[in-house]
Amino acid sequence: MKIAVCLKRVPDTTAKITIGPDRKSITDTGLKFVPNPYDEFALEAALALKEKSGGGETVVYSVGTDASAETLRTALAMGIDRAVLLQAPGGADGLAIAQALAAELGAGAFDLLLFGKMAVDDHNHAVGPMTAELLAIPCITSVAKMTIENGAVEAEREIEGGIEVVTCSLPAVITCEKGLNNPRLPSLKGIMAAKKKPLETKPAALGAPTLEIVSLELPPERQPGRIVGEGADAVPALVQLLRTEAKVL
């Protein structure tokens, strides 16, 4: 099987985010960046599928600035065969990025295109299914369990109050949810090997924007609350406040 994984470089989830002077972007200085956690499930799925089949190729793609090369090297260190960086300034326009990926991936003759279900920076949940629509191939999103046999995928995705069982044939786009697998850490040997693996760089063919960022703002601070009391004896006072002051019971 030939498998593509799309990867985004994002700020570490534990990092404090500071809005930049333009009020439209965040300050990168001093910020730690990591591979998008949901994309790591996609990388692991690709590696496990290749190991199981005993052949094929895995290729990782990222749309981003030159700094994304480091993130791609992490994927190579995990075991992905080669990487392609599609250079573009950062952006929140999901369609423009999907168009760049579709233009590149459409020619790749891939059996499977894996994405994270969303990026933890801009939370769009969009680029995977949009890329599938542009390529006119099936797509199953937010997949927490999947089996691939005889050119067909059977997947499970969590919905509110249940689990959908969904099927499609290959080639397909699958977006990965937490629970799909446990991503491996790069080994020392993998890190050394990654330095020699091919990493191609070329400009991204971004589509025309249909979304613009007006501003970024910090959410309003919550008003400081109060400690109602200590121990179980404080329970009646708490319930009273929830009923009469907060009016939520």
Partner: protein
């Protein structure tokens, strides 16, 4: 173009889901609303949608629409959408899957999980939490139609107190479509049926509960509260105590319930990001310096194993008296 807005209703098992009313409420901020129901046959509540603000109610019926049909739904909405200035979806598992498919067909971007909608001239504007709620992003959608999904529990909806007379429902044609993806069935979830993103009350537990079996205390509290879901911190999900579908925080779900209980949760930045938009937050923790108390409206410091049974009893007593 007149500001006509298409609101995509969500139904399951022949009944409209609560979030559908919220979609109408949000869509009304942008113009006159046509509500579209995609279904196999009759859907309970469809006739009442005019009473909650829909100008027209449209029904797209197809034998393959008993369950979610990504290709058929996207084809139907994609064809209808050209007559509208905006299309509004629910930010649910289905809506988040469907909205980008429709947007890609219409060659526009989409605004996912918005908490505010408005207009700036002809363009639709939206506010959406990014970086798991650490930052609010204000955007303009410059393509037509504008495509957005709304976060559940955020746009207050009218729901008719009692069913009105059946209103007029117009049929729309489902275009021919190729089925590339098939939803075979919906299996019951391993855990509770109420999702943390949709529940009006969420009771979340963390490592302070000491072991998985002690989540029974939270389940008891949730049962006493009525419509409440049990959530969990990343630490306990990573430890395998709870299903990841219950995780609240940056790599889990972002919730906005009316009431949120954080029990035995210290309040790591990635957890706070997932629940800070709750209307009222209650924290129970034995460490009085835990960061969770900085965002909580009400807190109790102490041993949760003593406090929880008492709280459950007190809530049962109060609710029985209502």
């Amino acid at each position: 173009m007149a500001d006509r807005v298409l609101a995509i209703m969500e139904q399951r098992d022949g009944a409209l889901r609560k979030v559908s009313y919220e979609v109408i409420a949000a869509a009304r901020l942008l113009g006159d609303v046509d509500a579209l129901v995609l279904c196999e046959g009759a859907v309970e509540g469809t006739g009442d949608l005019r009473a909650v603000g829909a100008a027209r109610v449209l029904s797209a019926a197809h034998p393959d629409f008993r369950l979610y049909n990504p290709d058929g739904f996207a084809a139907t909405i994609g064809e209808l959408a050209s007559g509208y200035s905006a299309v509004v979806f629910a930010g649910t598992a289905t809506g988040r899957d469907l909205a980008p498919r429709v947007a890609a067909r219409l060659k526009v971007s989409c605004a996912t999980d918005v908490i505010e909608l408005g207009r700036d001239g002809a363009a639709v504007t939206a506010t959406r939490p990014v970086y798991a709620g650490k930052v609010l992003q204000k955007i303009r959608l410059t393509g037509t139609p504008a495509v957005a999904s709304i976060r559940p529990n955020t746009f207050p909806a009218d729901k008719p107190a009692e069913p009105g007379p059946p209103g007029e429902v117009e049929s729309v044609t489902v275009p021919a479509f190729a089925t590339r993806v098939t939803v075979k069935e919906i299996k019951a979830a391993a855990t509770a049926t109420l999702d943390v993103t949709e529940a009006p009350i969420v009771v979340s537990g963390g490592r302070g509960l000491k072991e998985p079996a002690n989540f029974k205390l939270l389940e008891d509290l949730a049962a006493a509260l009525g419509t409440a879901a049990v959530g969990a911190s990343r630490a306990v999900v990573d430890a395998g105590w709870r299903d990841h579908g219950a995780q609240v925080g940056q790599t889990g779900k972002t919730v906005s319930p009316g009431l949120y209980f954080a029990i035995g949760i210290s309040g790591a930045i990635q957890h706070l990001a997932g629940m800070r938009t709750a209307k009222v937050i209650v924290a129970i923790n034995r460490d009085k310096d835990a960061p969770i108390f900085k965002v909580a409206d009400y807190g109790i410091v102490g041993d949760l194993f003593e406090i929880l049974p008492r709280l459950t009893d007190e809530i049962k007593r109060v609710r029985a008296g209502q």
